[in-house]
């Protein structure tokens, strides 16, 4: 019964993904991405964010924006990843884990800092628990500003890595 209802819903809904926007010009967003050639595995690290950026990243990989069609995929372990997607200001507790996660990724490793907090500690800059920005802990290659950044911007950053 539930199978029929689900099947009818699939038929009715059809395709949810919006048509792909034109490829962002300027080629690859960082020179290290030349080795990727159409495939990037991404590990997301929450270094202390309010989860606003996480919701946008979730939307970016969801059916409407579908970042997977450009060759990006979320993976479960930094060992499997090429790029780290870091959100949030780096709190004191997360500074060492972020560093260790970065070191667990094989070369060439790319860091994408997503959101104003990752770039400049945003709203939480004076907080007692905040250590600093992501760039103070690991070298950042791609920046996605916004509070939170739109899923389209996140998708554009990932497309800049895969080149698709």
């Amino acid at each position: 019964m539930a199978v029929f209802k689900l099947w009818r819903k699939i038929r009715q809904t059809g395709r949810t993904a919006e048509p792909a926007p034109p490829r962002p010009d300027g080629g690859l967003s960082c020179p290290k991405a030349a080795a990727l050639r159409g495939s990037v595995q991404v590990r997301h690290v929450d270094a202390g964010s309010c989860n606003g950026c996480e919701i946008e990243i979730g939307s970016a990989f969801g059916p409407v924006y579908d970042a997977e069609r450009y060759g990006a995929r979320l993976v479960a372990s930094p060992r499997h990843a090429d790029a780290l997607l870091v959100t949030g200001p780096v709190t004191r507790n997360m500074a060492v884990p972020l560093r260790r996660t970065f070191e667990a990724v094989s070369e060439p490793r790319i860091v994408v800092a997503v959101g104003d907090c990752a770039l400049s500690a945003g709203e939480f800059a004076e907080g007692y628990g905040v250590q600093g920005t992501v760039a103070e802990v690991v070298p950042v290659d791609v920046r996605v500003p916004g509070c939170p950044p739109e899923p389209a911007a996140i998708v554009a950053a990932l497309r800049g890595l895969t080149g698709r």
Binding site: S77, P78, V96, P97, R100, E103, A104, S106
Partner: protein
């Protein structure tokens, strides 16, 4: 003179030399001399067995040696198979024991060392016995000497004495059963030599009684459930070279006894006998491997694995008997050949596993898998040798256990449904049991190898382990070479196997043959273990080389820290232990295993609500022991307590017993006259 006769005589002479050396030699040289003598006995046994398997026969009568009946010895291919297996195991285990006993670790007392050569020669002669009394005398000699050997370390641990009690009691219960069966048989046959027993004509009911008694006795020695309870205790508490001999050589003699009496002397018998054997074998296989899968004590795990493998052998025997009584002698010979091949494969990998476990015990002082780990870097050779044994025990394709399991499955799967509905129901269930057993065996040995030897040490003793001396490694290497040979070229044993199986089932010879691949008589399946091994090794090596070549300039392997989610270095105690590895299986089978949990809460003296100490203990007991033996032992205790009531020391009461006893006897005599 006959090769067999000279080899057996050499064995007996070496045994005498060994006993003298044990009694007279100084403590430092004792173990070496006795070990060498026992290894020589083993080699003599191997020569004897091989000669018997190649077709030579020999028999002898020594009327003066035993009062009333005399000793009769005869060796045929079936006995030769078991003598060869026993000889090989003895040679390697004795060599291992020389290294094990050195340095004050192993047993080196006079009594224990003197018992070893006698045990060895008794093991070799049991398959050569040709009369019931010879068999019984040798059987009891084997039991007594092995009991001494099991008790070797009783001063070190209290569990050893308990193991000795269980072993002694059960081996004698088994002995009484065999005695009753064989004596009943011989009484009706008019003589006790095997030739006379073979020619005797008993009623089917009496044959059934004899078979059941003999099955009980020999089955308890082989570890058939429910008479297996001594095996995990004795094999775990005995010194490791002795454990290897018990598990790899002595339990086979239970199998030999059932084949000899059931197939050869009684001539096949009724089908229900073999259905019973099949059922008992299936239950033993499943129960044994389940207990092994949840065991955290390494030697107890290996002992229960012996119960499982003997269960599989008895399953093959049962299938062979069913086919024989249903009129398919070729198939029966095939099933019997599968059982015999499994006997030798099991002897090979089990001896290797027990000797490797002994090395670990000697180096770390503990058998607890939950406390081991990381031995790969400290004892690299032992790890590789244990891995070879585990590959055989898990019955995976590159190992030797796979071939005999394949053969067993072939004989079950192509069973002619001429046996009717019974066979049609029993064979699929038997295949299912073999399959579940195989799957659980894989899980068990991945646990034993992975948790015990890989990753990092879980406790200090494991951290300070050192590799075993060269003698022990050489002995293990010999066993590993044997296992590899059995894995790659099992068809070389084909003629010997066919001859041994034909002796029992009287079927046409050559059931198993072929050069590089195994070819079976009457079945269209073939298997080439060598081809599979070569293919896998070439493919793996080729892949590695190709990838290395293709990515040489682009990448370089780097050493990294373990991925621990960034929180901090994982300690060795964060690793999975053997108990946690087996927990899903324990949960799935907890109706069968019935694990017990004890939680002991000690509150403070001031208030019952303040907890000072909590002790948590969980264990998986042997359920058969609790359900079957505990009530029997309790009843025996209650009966024993009646003793002081009946014989309370009062002279009046004893006089009354005498008076009423005599009066009653006179009355009975008067009435019956």
């Amino acid at each position: 003179m006959n090769v067999i006769a000279s080899a057996l005589a050499a064995g007996c002479v070496l045994a005498a030399v060994g006993v003298v050396a044990a009694i007279c030699a100084p403590a430092r040289a004792r173990a070496g001399l006795v070990g060498t003598a026992t290894a020589g006995i083993g080699v003599a046994g191997l020569v004897t067995g091989v000669a018997a398997l190649s077709g030579q026969v020999w028999q002898a009568r020594l009327p003066g040696l035993l009062p009333l009946a005399g000793v009769q010895i005869a060796l045929d291919p079936l006995g030769g198979w078991f003598v060869a297996v026993t000889g090989g195991v003895l040679a390697a285990a004795a060599l291992y024991g020389i290294g094990y006993a050195g340095g004050g670790h192993g047993p080196s007392g006079r009594g224990v060392q003197a018992a070893l050569p006698v045990f060895a020669v008794a093991l070799l002669l049991v398959p050569a016995a040709a009369s019931a009394s010879t068999l019984l005398v040798l059987w009891e000699l084997m039991a007594l000497t092995s009991l001494l050997l099991v008790l070797a370390e009783h001063r070190a641990r209290p569990a050893v004495a308990e193991a000795g009690w269980w072993y002694g009691a059960l081996t004698h219960v088994g002995f009484v059963a065999i005695l009753l069966g064989l004596v009943l048989y011989a009484a009706h046959a008019g003589g006790d030599s095997f030739a006379e027993l073979r020619a005797a004509d008993l009623s089917p009911a009496l044959q059934g009684v004899v078979f059941v008694l003999v099955l009980g006795g020999f089955g308890s020695k082989a570890g058939l459930v429910p008479l297996h309870v001594w095996l995990p205790r004795a094999h775990a508490e005995a010194p490791s070279p002795v454990s290897a001999m018990l598990s790899a050589a002595m339990v086979n003699l239970g199998v030999y006894g059932v084949i000899r009496v059931g197939f050869d002397l009684l001539g096949g018998g009724a089908r229900w006998w073999w259905m019973l054997v099949l059922a008992l074998g299936a239950v033993s296989a499943l129960y044994g491997i389940l207990q092994a899968a949840v065991a955290a004590d390494l030697k107890r795990l290996l002992a229960y694995s012996t119960v499982e493998n003997m269960g599989l052998v008895f399953l093959g025997l049962g299938a062979a008997g069913i086919f024989q009584t249903s009129g398919a002698p070729t198939l029966a010979a095939l099933a019997l050949a599968a059982a015999l091949l499994h006997v030798i494969n099991h002897a090979g990998f089990k001896a290797l596993l027990f000797t490797a476990a002994g090395s670990v015990l000697r180096a770390t002082g503990t058998r607890d898998l939950d406390a081991l780990g990381g031995l790969r870097s400290r004892m690299p050779a032992t790890t590789v040798l244990f891995a070879a044994g585990a590959l055989g025990a898990a019955a995976l394709p590159l190992g030797n256990g796979f071939v005999s399991e394949w053969l067993l499955l072939q004989s079950l799967v192509h069973a002619v449904p001429a046996g009717g509905v019974v066979t049609a129901v029993a064979m699929p269930l038997a295949v299912a049991v073999v399959a579940l057993t195989a799957g659980l065996a894989v899980a068990t040995f991945v646990k034993a190898l992975g948790v015990g030897f890989f990753a990092r040490p879980r406790s200090d003793p494991a951290q300070t382990a050192t590799e075993s001396p060269l003698v022990m490694l050489a002995a293990m290497g010999l066993l590993a070479a044997g296992c590899i040979g059995l894995a790659l070229a099992p068809a070389a044993l084909g003629p010997a196997l066919s001859r041994a199986a034909a002796t029992a089932t009287r079927a046409p010879v050559d059931v198993v043959g072929g050069g590089v691949s195994l070819r079976l008589a009457g079945i269209a399946s073939t298997l080439s273990p060598l081809l599979i091994t070569v293919a896998v090794v070439v493919a793996a090596a080729g892949t590695a080389a190709l990838v290395q070549l293709a990515t040489r300039r682009v990448t370089r392997r780097r050493a990294v820290a373990l991925w621990d989610c960034g929180a901090g270095p994982p300690t060795a105690r964060m690793q999975y232990t053997a108990t946690s590895f087996a927990e899903p299986l324990q949960r799935v089978f907890d109706d069968v295993l019935a694990p017990e949990t004890d939680v002991d809460v000690t509150p403070h003296a001031e208030s019952a609500y303040l907890v000072a100490r909590v002790a948590y203990q969980t264990r998986v007991p042997d359920r058969v022991e609790h359900a079957l033996y505990a009530p029997v032992i309790a009843a025996a205790r209650r009966l024993g307590r009646l003793g002081p009531v009946v014989a309370n020391g009062s002279v009046h009461r004893y006089l009354a017993y005498g008076f009423f006893g005599v009066t009653g006897l006179l009355l009975v005599l008067a009435v019956t006259r």
